[in-house]
Structures are given as structure tokens and as C-alpha cells.
């Protein structure tokens, strides 16, 4: 049969259901791949091999007596270590974290469990998920599986590295300013950052709740569709969780994409490195070959959006840290400490102005940017994949500018709350990168259908160090 590492989560679930492989065999193989991935990328925070194997035995028993439930029954996965799990302490990638075990699972974790998935490990993230590059000055930096001298992107660094390596087919992440899209792009895989509120954040470590969005990183778009289908929906534990009906995203993967209109904001794209501009052009051409129609669009002034999202994010992210910044400042890594301090200098009035203006800017974007197009395309990284050393700015004076350049194309979209799908570029033997397709609110099914068509032309890959 096919190498298990290459299977999608959906494909692996089918193989387990069809008794082509047992959950125990799949889990043992995944543990070995994850260990090898960790050696290369520093992607694991906690490996839970024994627990996973016990769960896999139980899954095999349930499959044998036909009592197994869920579309991912017996499938071993792993997630970013920022979600509550009953009886465990999440590290948050930091020295400061909960001191007592969580009393209940985060909603997203509970929904993965209800879908039958197992959890092998808790995976690397930027300290407090507050970093876009994979640097973590407390745990050590994550390394890219395509080239370990390069960044993984962050903050969902371990999930992206493990998915790209083929250790797991999919895993949870979160995105406040780019934390699903940047690691997916840097590691050459896909991600879905759904509409703000589409997936409950209950039990997820808050970074900046006005912007925090839970989502999934996977190699196969079909896994994004499958997982979003059971993760999305209302939750009494998160009042921001949307009650908008959840479509059958997997069924919609076959929706025709011919005739959909893709918009390019040439002014915004022109601010990227020329090589990145060519990537956007290349992916747009592939989408046009698939039947999409190319058009132009214009976002509201990009720098204004970038300032507004910072006016929301900086105080929102600083507030939970205000006590610890005073009582335990040396337990922070230098970069997060410097960034968390800045939020204290934003006035409450300016913060509220940015929050009050958010509806106006979203409405303006829907009425103007999306007036003549169905989706928009933008880069994710403004530059070709940087090295870990190039962005090792710690908490120095250039930290705001350096991090600002990394999230230039991602964090303004969080202000608008729009769904985005990350697609890897065709590598042609080179380093990975990715683009984002941006849709109207709740247009995830449309984005995923386009992504599915794209993967017929640009199939998922397994990452191994390149000999460049």
C-alpha cells in the first residue's frame, strides 16, 4: 500500500477502516516519523507515545466490533501546544503557563476526539504564540524541514513542520496575525484560517481575543475541508463562536471553479520582493488555467489596515501579561517581552477607535474590494524564505520593523476577519513559499473548492532537506 506518510488524514482513516493498516501500526509509524522530524526541526514539546498507542489499541478494538465513531477513527495527529486537554498542562511555548492540569478539553480538541482522532504529541509554537517566524527564545527555535537553517514561520511552527515532513497529515494551529498562514507557507503546505468566530476558541490560550482564530494546517486541502466541517459551529463556551450554518465542506470540494473571479491588488502586491511578485503571478496563472477569471481589486489603504490591526492587537495581547510583566519579567523571552511592553503605550481611546472602525472597514472591503471579484490573492511572506539567523532580532530595537515586515501581508486580514486559504507555490526544486486566497466571510467552501482544484495541478509534497 501507499507509504503512510503520504496519505491524507481522510485517506489514512479509510485505510484503517478498511483494515489495510491498524491504528496501532499507523500510530507506531507516526511516532517514528515524528521523532525523526523532531531531530531535524525541533517540532515536539511533549511526545505522548504510550498514551497514543493505548488509544490506538482501543480504536482498533472499536473498529473490530464496529463501535468506532467519527471520520478520523484511529488516526494519529498532533497539535500546537496551546489548547487545553483534560488532565494536562499546556506549555504555551513559555515559562509562564498554567500550573494545574486543565479541567476540560478545549472545544477544538474535544471535536477532534469526537471525530475519532488520537493525539501523539504537543507541538512547538512561538512563546505565547506571539511570534511569526518560529523563533522561540525560551524553548529554542523551530527549523524548517526543507532547509533547517531557514525559518518555519510561526507561531504554529511545530504543526507546520510535522505536517510538511509527513509525520502527521494535519494538526491544529491558531492565527492572530498570520500564525497559520506563515508556517504553512514557509513549510510548503496548506492551511485554513476561517472567518473570525467560525471555530470556537474555548480552551485555547488567548493571544489577542479580538483577532484570535483557530484553524488547521494540512498537506491536503481535503483534510482542511473534513476537519473544518466538524470543528466549525456554535459553542456555548465561546460567545464569539458563530451560529452560521456549517456546510458540508467535503461535498463542496467538487464545486465547479470555472468562472470564479480572482482579484489581484497590484499596488499591494508590488510592495513584495520581485521574486514573491512572480510567485503570485505564477499561482494566479495556474488558477486562470483552471478556469478562474483574472481581475483587479483594491483593498483599503494597506498601511492604514496594518496600523489599525496593531492598535487592536498590541493592547489586546499586552493585557493578559500586564501582571507577569511586572512580577516575572525575566521569565519572558526578549522578543515577546519587548512586544508585550509596547501595548502598554497605546492609549485606550486609540485602541477603541480601531475596534469601532473595524465594521466600517470590513463593509468597505466587501463593497469595494470584492465588488467585482469572488476572491483575492496576496502573498504571505513579503520576501523569499528567510534564514533563522537573518530574523534573529531577539528583543532589539529593530524588532517591530522586522516582525512588521514578516506579517505585512497577513495581519491586516485578521483585522477584517476574512477567511483565507494558504496554498504552496510550485517549488520547481527550490525552497517553499505560499500565497493566500482571501474570501468573503463564511466563503470557506469556495476557497476549499479552488484549493482542491489547485492541488490537482500542484500536488502535496513531503518535505526533506534540499541539496541546493
Amino acid at each position: 500500500m501507499t507509504d503512510l506518510a503520504h496519505l491524507s488524514a481522510r485517506g489514512l482513516a479509510k485505510a484503517i477502516r478498511d483494515k489495510q493498516v491498524s491504528s496501532v501500526e499507523a500510530t507506531k509509524a507516526a511516532i517514528e516519523r515524528l521523532k525523526a522530524c523532531h531531530e531535524l526541526t525541533h517540532s515536539i514539546i511533549t511526545l505522548e507515545a504510550d498514551e497514543a498507542l493505548s488509544a490506538a489499541k482501543a480504536a482498533d478494538a472499536a473498529l473490530a466490533d464496529a463501535s468506532a465513531k467519527g471520520p478520523l477513527a484511529g488516526v494519529p495527529l498532533a497539535h500546537k501546544d496551546m489548547f487545553d486537554r483534560k488532565g494536562k498542562i499546556a506549555s504555551w511555548g513559555a515559562k509562564i503557563h498554567p500550573v494545574t492540569p486543565a479541567p476540560a478539553d478545549a472545544t477544538a480538541i474535544a471535536r477532534f476526539k469526537a471525530a475519532g482522532a488520537l493525539q501523539l504529541a504537543a507541538l512547538h509554537l512561538a512563546e505565547f504564540a506571539y511570534g511569526p517566524t518560529g523563533h522561540n527564545y525560551v524553548l529554542g527555535h523551530a527549523r524548517n524541514p526543507w532547509d533547517p537553517t531557514r525559518i518555519t514561520g510561526g507561531s504554529s511552527a511545530g504543526t507546520a513542520a510535522a505536517v510538511a515532513y509527513g509525520a502527521i497529515p494535519a494538526g491544529l494551529g491558531s492565527d492572530t496575525g498570520g500564525s497559520l498562514r506563515l508556517p504553512a507557507a514557509c513549510c510548503g503546505v496548506t492551511s485554513i484560517k476561517p472567518t473570525w468566530g467560525r471555530i470556537s476558541r474555548a480552551g485555547a490560550m488567548p493571544l489577542a481575543p479580538a483577532l484570535d482564530t483557530v484553524g488547521v494546517i494540512a498537506r491536503h486541502v481535503e483534510d482542511l475541508a473534513l476537519t473544518l466541517g466538524f470543528l466549525a459551529g456554535p459553542d456555548a463556551r465561546d460567545p464569539a463562536a458563530s451560529s452560521v450554518a456549517v456546510p458540508d465542506y467535503v461535498a463542496h470540494l467538487r464545486d465547479p471553479v470555472k468562472g470564479l473571479r480572482i482579484g489581484v491588488d497590484e499596488t499591494v502586491v508590488a510592495e513584495a520582493h520581485p521574486q514573491v511578485q512572480r510567485m503570485v503571478e505564477g499561482v494566479t496563472n495556474i488558477l486562470v488555467q483552471l478556469g478562474l477569471t483574472r481581475g483587479r481589486c483594491a483593498f483599503p489603504d494597506w498601511q492604514t489596515l496594518d496600523h489599525l490591526v496593531q492598535l487592536v492587537q498590541l493592547p489586546d495581547a499586552s493585557s493578559p501579561h500586564s501582571v507577569f510583566l511586572r512580577t516575572r519579567p525575566f521569565d519572558y523571552g526578549p522578543q515577546v517581552r519587548a512586544r508585550a511592553e509596547v501595548g502598554h503605550f497605546i492609549s485606550a481611546v486609540d485602541h477603541l477607535t480601531a475596534l469601532r472602525a473595524r465594521g466600517m472597514f470590513l463593509k468597505r472591503t466587501l463593497e469595494q474590494t470584492f465588488k467585482d471579484v469572488d476572491i483575492a490573492i496576496l502573498p504571505i511572506l513579503a520576501d523569499p524564505l528567510p534564514t533563522i539567523a537573518e530574523l534573529d532580532v531577539s528583543g532589539g530595537p529593530q524588532v517591530q520593523a522586522a516582525m512588521g515586515r514578516v506579517v505585512k501581508y497577513t495581519r491586516p486580514i485578521n483585522y477584517l476577519g476574512l477567511p483565507t486559504l494558504t496554498l504552496p507555490i510550485p517549488r520547481d526544486g527550490g525552497l517553499p513559499n505560499g500565497i493566500q486566497l482571501i474570501g468573503r466571510p463564511y466563503a470557506e467552501a469556495q476557497l476549499l473548492a479552488i484549493g482542491q482544484a489547485y492541488q490537482h495541478e500542484v500536488p502535496p509534497e513531503i518535505a526533506r532537506p534540499l541539496k541546493l
Partner: protein, 65 residues
């Protein structure tokens, strides 16, 4: 033992309670000042009745349209 006046917050200094070296404090102030210019410009065009829930209202409208 610091005197009462030593322990009092400098009245004009934001985030006086954070232990920050002068250069980082200056950089944080400069960044906040840059963002404040944008906030001021947007505040001038923002309808008086705009409120923080408008964002969710637009999301809901989009879902029902």
C-alpha cells in the same frame, strides 16, 4: 529604602511600572505615536455612532445576505 517620592510613579510617564531600558521605552513610545496618528485620522472619518459591535453586525449581515 526609597523615599515616598522615589516610589511614586512619574506622573507623565506611560507604563512607568514596567522595567524597561530607556532605548526600548523610547522605541515603544515612538511606535505608539506613529499608530496614534492613524487612530486620529480614522477617528475624524468615523461616524459618531460607530461601535465595537459593528464588526460582528457586518459578519452576520454577510451570512444572511
Amino acid at each position: 529604602m526609597p523615599s515616598q517620592s522615589d516610589a511614586s510613579p512619574p506622573s507623565q510617564e506611560p507604563a512607568w511600572y514596567l522595567d524597561m531600558p530607556p532605548e526600548r521605552r523610547a522605541a515603544a513610545k515612538a511606535h505608539a505615536a506613529l499608530l496614534a496618528q492613524t487612530a486620529d485620522r480614522i477617528a475624524r472619518e468615523l461616524p459618531f455612532a460607530a461601535d465595537v459591535d459593528d464588526f460582528r453586525r457586518v459578519l452576520v449581515q454577510e451570512a444572511t445576505s
